[in-house]
Amino acid sequence: MTNDKTMTKPGGVSRRTLIKSAGAFGTVLATGTIGAPAVWGQGKKTIRFLNTETSIDSIRALKVACAEYEKQFGTQVIVDSVPLDDAFTKVTTSLRGGQPYDIATFAFVGHVLLLQAEGQLMPLTELTSKHKWGPKILFPVKDEVYWYPYDYNLAWIYYRKDLYEKHGLSAPKSYAEMLKNSQTLTADGRFGSLFPIGSNGATNWLAPGFMWAEGVKLFDDKWNVTLDNAEMAPRVTRYLDFFAELYKTMPSGASQASFGEVLSNFSSDKVGHAAYAGRIIEALERNAPKLATQYGITPYMDSTGKAKAVNHGYDGWVVLKTPNSDESMKFMKWFTENQYINFLHTAPLHFQPPRLDVYDDPRWRAHPLIEKHKEAVETMRGFITDKSVILTSIDTEGPAPDLRPGKVFEGFVIPEMLQNKILKNMSSAECIKTAADKMRKLIA
């Protein structure tokens, strides 16, 4: 039998002493832990950043930048990453729930306008005014800019240069040439082209380019729907008739194709033409290096061969009015001055800079892919500097930035117009009338 005393070894510690010490240590630890949040809260600020660029490189770059910021300034920046479609809901519900995000990413100007109208956004003019920007990207409201656009995601047409050379084709300048080229490339187990027609964002982004080149406008200066008026209807008819013919050169499944299918079909040599932004080049480099030197890019074309267009696309950051707004503004200022190019490099060809100074910045140009594809990069730059290239999209149509074209975008009016023509064999006139009626209803 033993007791406390018998457990004490020469030079050792008795069990009683051990328990007392542990108790004292526990008390100190508990007191410290309980007190810690208050001290922590006083000494360290935390801001929440909602990111929608979900590639591992972009998330990593953001987290590294945030860790660097915390090291330098002591403010913790927590990055949450969600798919783009969920961003607006996350932001609005976080506002309503009382724990708002301080910084958020959006890819639709309507969301920015909606939050701005509710007084939820900080103006970012002091940050954007330092630089020269490309066209149709700042979307100012009463001379104030409420977001910091970080990229263009313009959609243009990719074609296979090697197949063009083999068949003696040249880059298409008109609907007829595009159709002929696509028909020619429909051979050897390959389809001529893939342009999605489903009710999804991919169709909204990648299919209307031909319509913009044809000079179609969705609204007049007073927000009246013009799609079916005497001037536009014949243009839309030409677009629909052309698209119906082009559809015959596409693989089955175009009605369900989204971004992934377009990328994979072009990079796996299954189609000769596809539309996208710079992501395709990155995909070719990663998955099909042999094809990475065999692509050409060209804008969408009209029926006469006179006009060209690219479909608008963009992303940007907003700073929300929260108790942390000042700290968020400081972070945005630091990030856009010190980390912006690092961030762009996480998708070097897909994140096309809207800031014109970046194109001549040796730090940006130093990326190996930008260097390697400098010809494509110059063409991309030309899409925003060449005034003859029409730059528009469903969500940016109309006389001013507004929520109404956003409703047309989210209502999948143009995709459904294509589906009515192609899948339901409706006449073009009927398709146009149905689409215009739906637009009027959506924006009423």
Partner: protein, 286 residues
């Protein structure tokens, strides 16, 4: 603690959880349907029954209602017929029966998104394995989603693929409660297998059939994930049901009140349907 106190304690906790997680959000959702709201930010404007009037006048609503009914009916019929068939097979004795029973539940265990993405890549028009197999057999390509009818059929097909195992498991469990003596007596009377199925098996399965059909009907009518991931309600709204229409109004078309109104009408329709169902097919106590 007395047994009565224990019972009331559990009852209180159960009611509190139900109230907080089911009743309160449902009441809130119904209340939203009386307001005009672009988003969850900003002050809602009282709209009375305007959202209901607008929704009921929209052809999209009636189309979604019909689509939901077709999808639910089509899915349930195939799930029940195949589920009973598989259950009858799995109820027989054969080598490796336990393994086959385990494998048969597999599609139900997979996450919906995995099943849908697998299916979409399998039937991809350019590189899908099914497309390639069809091509290798010299058959014309199958247009899984290229017409409204085909898209609906594909959606039903995927639902049947996913949930038939659940129905099979329910019926298999029920089959094992049918006394063997009934079959033995019937055999002595010289009945055929078909007669035994219709006069013994099916009547004995009736209670579970009633519950399974009811559950499947509710789940299929409200189904969102499969249709959203597969077709997003397209083409041209051909697979859009009330759940998807409600979501699109609330989160895509900046019409939260309209979305809530659609969800409320859907809830009311289902409640009425359930009452009618139990009136026609009452569950007996014994």
């Amino acid at each position: 603690m007395s047994s009565k106190a224990t019972i009331y304690g559990f009852l209180f906790v159960g009611l509190a959880v139900t109230l907080a997680l089911i009743v309160a959000p449902a009441v809130y959702a119904v209340s939203l349907s009386f307001y005009q709201m672009d988003s969850f930010v900003g002050a809602p404007k009282w709209a009375g029954f305007a959202n209901y009037a607008a929704v009921l006048q929209a052809p999209e609503f009636w189309r979604a209602l019909v689509n939901g009914a077709i999808y639910a009916l089509g899915s349930i019929v195939f799930q029940v017929i195949l589920g009973i068939g598989f259950a009858l097979v799995l109820n027989e004795t054969f080598p490796g029966r336990n393994l086959v029973r385990g494998l048969s539940i597999l599609p139900y265990l997979l996450p919906t998104v995995v099943v849908i993405l697998t299916f979409k890549w399998m039937v991809d028009g350019g590189i899908g394995i099914v497309t390639k197999a069809v091509e290798a057999m010299g058959l014309p390509p199958i247009n899984w989603f290229e017409s409204p009818g085909a898209a609906m059929a594909s959606t039903i097909l995927v639902s049947v693929w996913m949930w038939t195992p659940f129905v099979t498991t329910c019926f298999l469990a029920a089959l094992q409660t049918v006394p063997q003596s009934l079959y033995e007596a019937a055999r002595v009377d010289g009945t055929t297998a078909v007669q035994r199925f219709f006069h013994i098996t099916l009547p004995m399965l009736k209670p579970i059939l009633t519950v399974v059909v009811l559950l499947r009907a509710i789940w299929m009518f409200n189904k969102f994930d499969v249709i959203w991931l597969l077709t997003r309600g397209g083409p041209v709204g051909a697979t859009e049901n009330l759940a998807i229409l409600s979501y699109r109004h609330a989160f895509n078309l900046f019409d939260i009140g309209g979305g809530a109104a659609i969800a409320t009408i859907s809830f009311a329709l289902l409640s009425v349907a359930v009452l009618i169902y139990f009136w026609v097919f009452p569950l007996e106590d014994d």
